[in-house]
Symmetry: C2
Subunit: 402 residues, 2 copies
Amino acid sequence: MIKDIDREMEKNNVRSMIVFGDSTTGNPDLCYVVGGSLPRGGIYLKRRSNSPTLIVSNIDVGSARKGRVGDIRTYSEYGYERISARYERDEARARFYERIIRDAELEGPTVICGRNDTSNTLLLIDALRKKGVKIVGEKSPTILETARETKDRYEIERLRSMGKKTARVVERTRRFLASCRVRGSKVYQRSKPLSVDAVKKVIGRLLAEENIIAPEDTIFAVGRRSSDPHYNGESGDIVRAAEPIVFDIFPAEPDGYWHDCTRTYTFSSPSRRVKEMFDAVLDAQTSALDQIREQVPSSDVMLNVCKLFERKGYPTVRSLAKGNKEARVRGFIHGLGHGVGLTIGERPYLSLYGKAPLKKNSAVTVEPGLYDPKVGGVRIEDIVIVGSPSENLTPISKDMEL
Amino acid sequence: MIKDIDREMEKNNVRSMIVFGDSTTGNPDLCYVVGGSLPRGGIYLKRRSNSPTLIVSNIDVGSARKGRVGDIRTYSEYGYERISARYERDEARARFYERIIRDAELEGPTVICGRNDTSNTLLLIDALRKKGVKIVGEKSPTILETARETKDRYEIERLRSMGKKTARVVERTRRFLASCRVRGSKVYQRSKPLSVDAVKKVIGRLLAEENIIAPEDTIFAVGRRSSDPHYNGESGDIVRAAEPIVFDIFPAEPDGYWHDCTRTYTFSSPSRRVKEMFDAVLDAQTSALDQIREQVPSSDVMLNVCKLFERKGYPTVRSLAKGNKEARVRGFIHGLGHGVGLTIGERPYLSLYGKAPLKKNSAVTVEPGLYDPKVGGVRIEDIVIVGSPSENLTPISKDMEL
């Protein structure tokens, strides 16, 4: 939560924080501290235990006011134009930052945060260090990663809203799929064999209706290739009736919160093997959802899911750690979940190594899956807000047969 | 162009280059050198005058092979698992990079590139410097920014394709608008007043049909508020018949190339003032498009556009520089254009200060505009590939009246 920043600064012996970037898009740390959108970015300053200042260009003051920072200033107030006219670009930038740092009375140790060009930013940091500013790097998790791990109330509200929008897209996609005709092993949309390309266009239209986007594509993996959890589904792929379809969608609001949901479908009765995999995954997910609550170490939940799958005869990443190389491609071959917020992959990570207790108001995916290169994949994924009990944000039916 | 990297490394006295990141999405430098998509990122290594190496995790070798790097290795080949098991996360990362750097015989001065978390990356850089790796920051433009400024043939092909896709979206949006009914000063979609929200949903659907996305929204600014070039148009806004509409769309392929196009529309005959602004902008754009070719300094073209507008009585950024403060909000109040490629804003920038000659195979927007807070805005924007003559990539009619 945003209020954790002070505590984390103290814990990490950091006195001052600068967060900057040329846009909030693709810069979750800046987006987080600003609490809104700045298409041309800005500079956020904070001394420990003091309220922050946000510096933007004149034309962006209106956008900045929509965010959470009370004290908004402009580049001009720090003499930006004068400095820019006198020095070449990189020297001007270093002098401008020095001016800001002195004026805001920032003192070291200082961290500089935000997602930026590594090489050109290093030039700035080296120049500031030469001018005596004590800039330190941060271990992982950084102060802002830790703050972002637990969600504020208005963030949970955004995540809930994204869950509902995603649910409408998935249910309407399901309805579109159910409207296709099955003839023997084949599936037809009107007179044409149903292609992954056609399905993805429908999904794109439905996302547009909700004013959300899927910046990293959507997984619609059909048949055996769905046994690769990272296979997206390509435009040449054709849907077949009895094969499993892994449909994993991860949309976001522009400069906003993400959702992440997976369902597994088949058009007609699946083979016994796929049915067994599906039942095992649904069992595992139901059980994991029951176990996930604050104070429980995620490794406990992950371990229980591994044991459940192993009892049913499937290899798991746990058996891989013990030398079962088959578990590289068959069985439960990935982690149980990950945090979601202003990014689609953040803390906490639910794995065998996640010994730290889950924190209240984290948002995590719960996504067990089983894979078999000879058959295909099955995965079911919801997002929950950790609590006691946890709140499921993905109100979508889990039935396999369309 | 990609082959310029060696020349720029030599010019900047850089011996080795590392480009890294946790994804190619939002990381144009990594996307560029990889020549494809790596959703979980990778590490690119290059010694000057030598061919590069790309290191990815085992599961991403297939994706890496689709890119331009011939020599692909895996993290495991550099002992990633062993190092990770022995040291905590940040120490393991520093040791892993040290191992890679020694193994590839990278020597200083070395640049580390890519868009990454500034604070945690600084920890890595400081650790490597302590181990004796000579890492230097880069002045702007960086080596990769300069390389990316001129496009390779296959990049121009992608940009052309994005121009065609964008053209279909714009022309179909225009057709949708033309299908709405005008009654007096009002515009109706069926029985409802036409809202910006409704138009944006249509645009979203059309983008989905083309499999492209608009990650930073679309500008559909109506009436007086279109006089702010940064006003996107909000969902409460209602379209009125005689007012100008600035429609600026900037879509991209996922992990790919962008397009950027603006048209200005009105539903019925505009006021004399808007008509005059439109004619002046169209004149200015036609003239600028004629002038833009290789070897011409962009400042010459910008200056000519300012003169053209000033002759017709409009203030410009040039008069602002001379103390005419009105030119902050009225007249031609922004630059003439900017580069486009794997980002929507990159080199070259067409401004009064762009004294360097335009380079063959740059891709730039040409987007003069006029703004008046009492009336609204007019802007027309195409993308051209600089040459002699230049090639226009935006085949879309410029008529104002729908």
